[in-house]
Every structure is written in structure tokens, then in C-alpha cells.
């Protein structure tokens, strides 16, 4: 009886245990089963440009049609990132990375976004991106170097820099990184050597000079430090590094803002006919764009098509009668054509922006031409009151005072 009971008990116990185990396995499977892809994110598009809404919806539909496509998720992320919906873009890149863990773009773009507010998380993403990169894909590697230098992880940064240097010895971003690394380790002379290579490149020259100045300071070479600092102060800001991942994203930009960015690019490249064509198309699509009319006016003014420039600024002033800048620009064109309307336009600019130094100055010049010297002098004084560093106004006032024999 006792033995039978024990056997029976053993069997029941084992059965219950098996049942629990089976249930646990079921729960485990349920929890760890591949979950269906999440719904693609939809940012709050209130106030967004219609063209932007359209391209986002299009990319989103592609994800809905192919929810297991890393490419579709990545492209949606790129479109979202291109239009500054970074939060939602990041979710897409995470999903794209989960579906295709070998593509460096997805963790790289996450890292790029996170760098602005969560550098620790950004470094993790960049490390994953670097693991996916082949030896020629150095952009993620060098961005990671810069993040590591900021985190004082100097040995890891050095190792990556050496890797890049071995395959691309002329890379100036590497030289700048090595220079910074040396300075952080207080190896001033070695740093100077690396930074010297970066002194003339548009991507590195200002930073290289600033860093070289510090190295010379630390070495007690005051004059050399001053020379470098003076040079750095005169140089424009360094241009951003070429970034194939991010540049691809910029091509998907749409909407008014994107059009203006293209306008900026075309102007910089000196391609004025194309600029005008793009602006014309933009104003056809967005006829109430104040910025569009202002930009068009500026281009016509620049190429000396004053009638057209005047028409553009007049249209801008009609669209926004309290926009001082439109009246000011209109006044500038009118002054150039010796129109008697110019002073009135400058006065309107001053009405909406009473401390507009250039408007006061230009009004002063108009009044001076009309022989109203006292009133003109007042305008020059007002310009100087608004902007004590306004040398043109000071000179004009001095000339007027010399001519009239007055001094106030």
C-alpha cells in the first residue's frame, strides 16, 4: 500500500511538473515569438508643408505594403529624418536594423540623431555601425572617434584612427582627430604636426588653427599662438564633413523649406538662371510665400533687373504690410532708380521696426540728396544710436557736419 501510494504520488508530481513545464514553455514561446512588425510611426503633421505630408505618406504606405522590408523601413526613416521628425525616424531605423542587422546605415543614422541629446546611446549605435562597415566606409568610424574623444576614451579613439589611417593615409579628418588626440594627451609637438596638415582645408582649417594656437600657447610660443589665433579669427566656420549617408537623406527633402535650401545651394554655386527658374516654380506652387517673393526680389536686385525686383518687393509688402524688411528692400531698389518713393518706403520700414539702423541710414542718404541736411543728420544719428558700431553712418554724419559746420 505504502509503496503503491508513493509511486502514485511520484507519478502525479511528475505529471504536474510536466504540465507546469509545458505551460511555462508555452508562455516562453508566446513571449519570445517573433512579434509582428510595429505600425510605422506617423508624426504629428499639423502645420507641416503639404509636399512633406505627401512624401511621408508615400513612404509609410510602402512600409505598410512590405512590413518585413528593411529597405522600406529605412527609407521611411530617411524621409522622416530629412524633414526633422527625428524621433519617429529613429524608430524606423531601429526596425530596419532589426530586419537587416548587416546594413551600417541604420545604426549610423540612429547614432547621428542620438548624438544631439543622448551621446552615450549614440556611441553604442555608432559602434554597431562600425562593425557593419567595410574598411573603406570610414565616415561612421570617424564620427565614432569624435564621440569617443569627447568621452575621454582616448585609446579606443586612437585604435580607430590608426585603422582609418592604414587604409586612407591622406584623410584630413583622421589627421584632425590625431591632432586632437595628441593635444588631449598634452603631446603638443606631435599634435602640431598632425594639425599642420589640416591648415588649408575648408573642412578643418579654422579648428586646426584654433587647436594649433593652444598647442603653441602650451609650449610658451606666444607669438606663434597669436598668429594662429588671428588666423582662426579671420577664417569662416569650417564646412561640415561630406557624409554620404546624410547627403542621401537630403535628396528626399520636399516642400518650401527644401526648395529654399536648394536655392541657397544654387546661389552659392553661382547658377542664377536655375535659381530664378526654381523660384518661379516655387512661387507658382506657393504664391503667398513671403520668403519666396523676398528671395526672388533679391536675385533680381543682384542681377540689376530693378523693375522686376521692385515688383517682387511690392508683392512681399502687399502680403505682409508690417514686414519691415520688405519695405526696406523696396526702398533700396527705389533709391537706386532715384524714385521719389524711396524715403516713404524707408519710413515704413522704420515704422514697423523703429530701431532699424540701415533704414535710418538709407533714409538719411535720401534726405541728404534732397538737400534736407538737418533731417538727414538726425537719421544718421539715429542709425548710430541703434548701432554704435555703424561706421558708415558715423562717416556720413561727420561729412555732413563738416559740410554744414555743425557739430552736435
Amino acid at each position: 500500500m505504502g509503496i503503491r501510494f508513493r509511486r502514485w504520488g511520484l507519478a502525479v508530481g511528475a505529471g504536474v511538473a510536466l504540465a507546469i513545464l509545458a505551460a511555462a514553455l508555452g508562455v516562453w514561446y508566446w513571449q519570445s515569438r517573433p512579434s509582428p512588425p510595429p505600425e510605422p510611426p506617423l508624426p504629428d503633421l499639423a502645420g507641416a508643408d503639404q509636399e512633406v505630408v505627401e512624401i511621408i505618406n508615400l513612404a509609410r504606405e510602402k512600409v505598410l505594403r512590405a512590413p518585413l522590408s528593411a529597405k522600406a523601413w529605412g527609407q521611411l526613416g530617411e524621409v522622416l529624418l530629412a524633414h526633422d521628425f527625428n524621433r519617429e525616424a529613429n524608430r524606423c531605423f531601429q526596425q530596419a536594423e532589426a530586419l537587416d542587422p548587416h546594413e551600417p546605415a541604420w545604426p549610423y543614422l540612429q547614432g547621428l540623431h542620438l548624438a544631439t541629446y543622448d551621446p552615450e546611446a549614440s556611441v553604442l549605435c555608432l559602434e554597431r555601425a562600425v562593425r557593419c562597415c567595410d574598411e573603406r566606409q570610414n565616415v561612421p568610424r570617424l564620427l565614432l572617434v569624435e564621440a569617443l574623444l569627447e568621452r575621454n576614451r582616448l585609446d579606443e579613439a586612437q585604435s580607430l584612427l590608426e585603422q582609418v589611417h592604414s587604409v586612407d593615409p591622406g584623410n584630413l579628418r583622421t589627421e584632425l582627430g590625431l591632432g586632437r588626440l595628441d593635444l588631449l594627451r598634452q603631446n603638443w609637438r606631435a599634435g602640431l604636426t598632425h594639425l599642420d596638415a589640416c591648415r588649408n582645408d575648408v573642412h578643418t582649417r579654422k579648428r586646426a588653427s584654433t587647436l594649433r594656437a593652444e598647442a603653441w600657447n602650451q609650449l610658451g610660443e606666444k607669438e606663434k599662438a597669436r598668429d594662429e589665433q588671428r588666423r582662426a579669427a579671420e577664417l569662416p566656420e569650417d564646412q561640415p564633413w561630406p557624409d554620404p549617408f546624410y547627403e542621401k537623406i537630403l535628396t528626399s527633402r520636399r516642400g518650401l523649406r527644401a526648395r529654399f535650401l536648394s536655392v541657397d545651394y544654387l546661389i552659392q554655386a553661382g547658377r542664377l538662371p536655375e535659381t530664378l527658374q526654381l523660384l518661379n516654380e516655387t512661387l507658382d506652387k506657393y504664391p503667398s510665400s513671403l520668403e519666396g517673393w523676398m528671395r526672388m526680389g533679391e536675385i533680381y536686385h543682384r542681377v540689376n533687373k530693378l523693375d522686376r525686383a521692385q515688383a517682387c518687393f511690392q508683392q512681399a509688402a502687399r502680403l505682409a504690410p508690417d514686414f519691415a524688411e520688405a519695405w526696406f528692400r523696396l526702398g533700396c531698389v527705389q533709391a537706386q532708380t532715384h524714385s521719389s518713393d524711396a524715403p516713404a518706403s524707408f519710413r515704413k520700414a522704420i515704422r514697423w521696426k523703429p530701431h532699424y539702423a540701415q533704414a535710418h541710414y538709407n533714409l538719411g542718404q535720401c534726405l541728404k540728396e534732397q538737400g534736407q541736411r538737418d533731417v538727414a543728420a538726425e537719421q544718421f544719428r539715429e542709425a548710430l544710436r541703434c548701432r554704435p558700431d555703424y561706421d558708415l553712418a558715423r562717416k556720413a554724419l561727420r561729412e555732413l557736419e563738416d559740410a554744414t559746420g555743425q557739430k552736435r
Binding site: G13, A14, V16, A17, I20, A24, W28, L45, G47, A48, D49, H83, F85, N86, R87, H113, L114, T116, Y117, D118, P119, L149, E150, R151, N152, R180, R207, A208, S209, T210, L211, A213, E214, N217, Q218, G220, Q229, R230, A232, A233, R253, G255, L256, R257, A258, L261, L290, E291, A320, D322, F323, A324, E325, A326, Y356, C386, R387, P388, D389, R394
Partner: protein, 573 residues
């Protein structure tokens, strides 16, 4: 049966405990080792100020730059009072408010009828006795100018902007008083921001509106107003605008300001922190004019050679033999930067070495102060944060914030100095000061309750000002030095105070004009660590005289008057 029980229990244990993945550290445990420094005493002290930013939706740029305020003893009762600035515009019902500190430590609103209860696009405040009559006066910077108020000595103030010659049309931000020409009269520095035009519409690539970036507009020059002192008949003559003649007319856009001797020649220089442009450091040429040397001295750019968005400024000395330290707050995507003056007079970016690049979270910093909060003998750092453009990262889930302002809200930061010049981020453990999301701007500091520990008041865009009482465990002794020039009837702004205890030495400044849009306690504060007394107190007065005063026991406020100490030879530097 027992076997069956064992199998059963084993299986259940395995399922419930053994097979579960290890738990992550709970947020409650994070920061558990951090010392707690502040208690939110806003309600305890009766401070009921809510910042009015004006109507939302037009993205009027001055509203996102916020407003600050000042700690001041306007009634000479020995207690610090508070003045807080509003930004709702000239037609707003929200007015700047003056709070008098009562004997019980609570603040009572004495704004009505004080003359300081003005409405406008208010930004910052500077406090100083402009006419040397023994009563502190107040300058309020504004979008579209600023206003100067003379303290009548009876709890009321008189607007003397026009007659005093300090009217200016630019967008004034941080401001402070300094006697730059050592004539005994406090001069006024007003940093100006950009030549803003509200007609410009800005925003990111998606076309949704946001506040403009400062680079959209040209920067404007700071203003320097020279105090003309009294005439032969004893009448105070006001100020004259010497911006041009003093050589400081150079466009900013400026947000922060601090005056101190940056090059070690004993004369006050002016540092203007510029937003998205290199800083300006105006070196005093000792003849009423200045020369700009930020790049030469190494504070124009950060250590990586980048131009940063410079906002709030604070100064201090880290250790006995260290040079002047300068800390400037920056954007979330940058790091706040700590420079230190080296042996050869050049400043070096020590942010990385000091552990300040590796913070637990980041923020767009504005108000900041370098002060020894826990009295261990090493100055610590407090920063208030809040964005200027909508966050593209994850938004805080904190309730109670207006959805319009939520994407701009961030958390503050606290950094503990370990005494070796390295800082530890203790923000996580300081929920009162750092735990809530807000759009922090001004940071006013002072020992409001006389316990030797420095308290702070934070001002927030479209939110309540918060009074944080310092409740840090005392890790040492303290001393507060009030340096007074009786001949001038006022605190000796610009004085450098050095105390010595055994082989250790600490230096602090009589310098209320730091942080962002704020003015703080004019007394020099010292955390002394284990030193129970100091052997000597040396004061380098702003006019160049150096005096040594006898030592004193710690844990007290001492008032030292110019001329009462033993004169020491001050080497001409």
C-alpha cells in the same frame, strides 16, 4: 510524495525566479548614492511667481529666451530679497515683482507701488548702487531697451532711464555693474542679443513653425555706460554711452556676461558670451578703453576649436594654486565648457578632463553658478536647462506641462567637485532640483537663510520660479565675507577675497553679475572643508589696494571695511 513536492517546488522556483532574466536597475535606485543638496521650498517661503511668456503660437523670439531676476537687499535690513522679471509685453497684466524677505524667511510681495512693478518684454536684472548713496539700484534689461531704477531708500524706486542716459534700443539680455575705470562709480554693461525682426518666420525642414535661430539675424553690440559720478554740487550726473569710444562696439549676439580680471593685471575685463558666435573677451587697457582678446586668450572657441552657442557664464577658482576658471553653458548637442587659466595666462578647455563631457543627461544650459554647495572646500556647479527649439528626441512624459512648451522642457544638472578638479554628475539623486522638466533660464544664488549654505532660485519660461533651499549635509565649515567700501557707502563690487587656513587658501569674488539674466549675492562665499577658522583674510579692492585682515572663526558672516586692514604691497602686474 516528498519527491513530487520537490519537483513541483523546483519547477515553480525555476519558472518564477531562476529562469527570469536579471532585472535592470530600477530608476529609483539610480542616483541613490548621490548626496541630496536641495529641497524645493517654493511654497514654504511663499514665493508665488509664475513667468508670463505672452501669447503663444507666433513664435516671438524673446519669449523663448526667458527672464531672470535678482537677489538684492533693497531695504538694507540685512536679508536678501528677490526681484523677478516678466516677459508678457508692455500691455500684459503680468508685472515684474519685488519680494521682501521677512524675519521668518518668507517672502512678501511688495511690488505694488514700488515702481519696479513694470510690464514689458523683460529679460534680466542688474543690481548695484549707482550713486553711492548706500541703497542698491536696479537695471532691468528688455527686448527693445532697458530701464534704470533709482532706489529712493523708502521701499520705492524711480525710473530714471532717460535722465540717467542709459536708454538704448537693442534687445538687452544679461547685464551687470562694474567699476571698469576704478573711479569709484559703478559703470553699467548691457549685453545685447540680435537685431530681431518678428516678421521673419522660421522652422525646420518640415515647415512647422518654431523659434528662429540667432544666425537668422545680425548680432548687436553690447553697451558700456560710464558712470559720470557727482558734480561739484554733489548732484549725480548719470551715465554716458561710451560703447564706441571704449572700443567695445562689436556685434554679438550676446547672452551672458561676467566681469573679472581675466588676464591677471588687476583691472576688470568683460567677457560677453555670444550665441553661436565666438565669445568676446574685452581686456581692460587701463585707459578707459578695451581690446578684444578672446581668441588670443583661448576662450573664443571650445577646446575642439568649435564655435559653440554660449549662454550663461560663471567664474571661480577650483583650488589653491589654480587659475581663474570660467564655465559657460551651451546647447544640448554641445557640452557645457569649463576653461581654466594656466600658468602662462592662457585659458585651456578642461571640460573632458574635469568629467563634464560625460554627464548623465544633457541640456541647453542657461543660468549657472560655480559655488561650494556642500562646504567641502571645492566649488560645485549648478545649471538650469531648457531648449530653444523643439526637441526632436523623445518627449518627457511629465504631466502638468503645457503641451506647447513640453518639447522645450529639460532637466537641470548638478555637478559635485571631488576636490581634485573632477566633477561627478549627481543630478539623478537630486530630484528636487533636477528631477522635473521645465524651461530653465535664470539662476539666482545667495545664502537667503543665513545658514552659510548657498540657496538658489530658478526661473522658468512660462512656469513658476522655484526656490531651492540648500539642505546639503555639511561637509565642512563656511565663511561669508561682505567687503564694504565705507567711502563709497556700498559693497566693493570686483573685490577679490582670499582666505588662508594653514596651508590651504581659497579665493572668491564680490561679483553678483554672473549666470544668465541674473544677479546674485554680493558677498564672497567660502566652503572651508575641515578648517574651523581662517588665519587671514586678504582683500584686493577694486581700486588696486590690497589689505590683510585678521583671521576669524568659521561659520559666520564677517563684514570687512576698506581701510581697516593692514595694507600689503600689491605688486604692479
Amino acid at each position: 510524495m516528498r519527491i513530487a513536492q520537490h519537483i513541483l517546488i523546483g519547477t515553480i522556483l525555476c519558472i518564477t525566479i531562476g529562469c527570469r532574466p536579471p532585472e535592470a536597475t530600477s530608476p529609483a535606485q539610480e542616483g541613490a548614492d548621490d548626496p541630496v543638496w536641495f529641497h524645493d521650498a517654493t511654497e514654504d517661503v511663499g514665493l508665488d511667481f509664475v513667468h508670463e511668456a505672452g501669447p503663444v503660437g507666433s513664435y516671438f523670439m524673446p519669449q523663448i529666451m526667458g527672464s531672470g531676476g535678482a537677489a538684492l537687499d533693497f531695504d538694507n535690513d540685512g536679508r536678501l530679497d528677490l526681484y523677478l522679471v516678466q516677459n508678457g509685453g508692455p500691455n500684459s497684466s503680468a508685472r515684474n515683482r519685488l519680494f521682501r524677505q521677512r524675519t521668518d524667511g518668507r517672502f512678501e510681495d511688495v511690488s505694488a507701488g514700488s515702481g519696479l512693478d513694470i510690464a514689458g518684454y523683460g529679460m534680466g536684472a542688474a543690481v548695484g548702487d549707482i550713486d553711492n548713496d548706500g541703497w542698491v539700484d536696479v537695471y532691468v534689461s528688455e527686448y527693445g531697451g532697458g530701464r534704470l531704477f533709482r532706489n529712493r531708500g523708502n521701499g520705492t524706486f524711480e525710473d530714471i532711464t532717460r535722465t540717467a542716459g542709459v536708454a538704448q534700443p537693442s534687445w538687452g539680455t544679461s547685464c551687470c555693474f562694474v567699476d571698469y575705470d576704478r573711479d569709484g562709480w559703478l559703470d553699467l554693461v548691457v549685453v545685447n542679443y540680435v537685431d530681431y525682426d518678428p516678421g521673419f518666420q522660421c522652422g525646420p525642414a518640415n515647415g512647422i513653425k518654431d523659434y528662429c535661430h540667432p544666425r537668422v539675424f545680425p548680432g548687436t553690440s553690447m553697451r558700456l555706460f560710464h558712470n559720470r559720478g557727482r558734480d561739484a554740487g554733489g548732484r549725480w550726473r548719470g551715465f554716458e554711452d561710451v560703447t564706441q569710444s571704449a572700443g567695445v562696439a562689436k556685434p554679438g549676439p550676446g547672452l551672458g556676461v561676467a566681469c573679472a580680471d581675466f588676464n591677471g593685471d588687476g583691472w576688470p575685463d568683460i567677457l560677453a558670451a555670444n550665441d553661436a558666435r565666438p565669445n568676446h573677451l574685452w581686456i581692460n587697457r587701463k585707459n578707459g578703453s578695451f581690446v578684444e582678446e578672446a581668441a588670443t586668450l583661448g576662450v573664443a572657441y571650445n577646446g575642439l576649436g568649435n564655435t559653440a552657442s554660449n549662454m550663461g557664464v560663471t567664474l571661480g577658482k577650483m583650488g589653491d594654486s589654480d587659475g581663474l576658471s570660467l564655465f559657460i553653458t551651451h546647447l544640448t548637442e554641445e557640452t557645457h565648457t569649463l576653461w581654466q587659466r594656466g600658468e602662462r595666462g592662457f585659458f585651456r578647455d578642461r571640460t573632458i578632463a574635469a568629467g563634464l563631457a560625460n554627464t548623465i543627461w544633457r541640456g541647453t544650459g542657461f543660468g549657472t553658478i560655480l559655488v561650494d554647495f556642500d562646504l567641502d572646500g571645492a566649488p560645485d556647479i549648478a545649471v538650469v536647462n531648457g531648449r530653444v527649439a523643439r526637441s526632436r528626441g523623445e518627449l518627457p512624459s511629465q504631466s502638468g506641462l503645457d503641451p506647447y512648451w513640453l518639447p522645450y522642457a529639460e532637466r537641470n544638472q548638478l555637478f559635485l567637485n571631488d576636490g581634485q578638479g573632477r566633477f561627478r554628475d549627481i543630478s539623478r539623486g537630486n530630484h528636487a532640483f533636477c528631477g522635473s522638466f521645465a524651461i530653465g533660464r535664470g539662476l539666482i544664488w545667495g545664502d537667503f537663510d543665513g545658514d552659510g549654505r548657498v540657496d538658489v532660485v530658478a526661473t522658468n519660461v512660462a512656469g513658476p520660479a522655484r526656490f531651492y533651499r540648500n539642505v546639503a549635509e555639511r561637509r565642512g565649515h563656511w565663511l561669508l565675507v561682505r567687503a564694504v567700501d565705507l567711502g563709497l557707502h556700498r559693497d566693493a563690487y570686483g573685490a577679490v577675497v582670499t582666505v588662508q587656513a594653514g596651508t590651504r587658501r581659497w579665493t572668491s569674488f564680490v561679483n553678483p553679475g554672473q549666470s544668465y539674466l541674473s544677479s546674485g549675492d554680493p558677498r564672497a562665499h567660502f566652503g572651508l572643508g575641515p578648517a574651523e577658522s581662517v588665519d587671514t583674510i586678504r582683500i584686493d579692492w577694486p581700486d588696486g589696494l590690497a589689505e590683510v585682515f585678521p583671521g576669524t572663526k568659521a561659520d559666520r558672516v564677517v563684514r570687512l571695511e576698506r581701510g581697516q586692514g593692514q595694507k600689503v604691497k600689491n605688486m604692479d602686474k
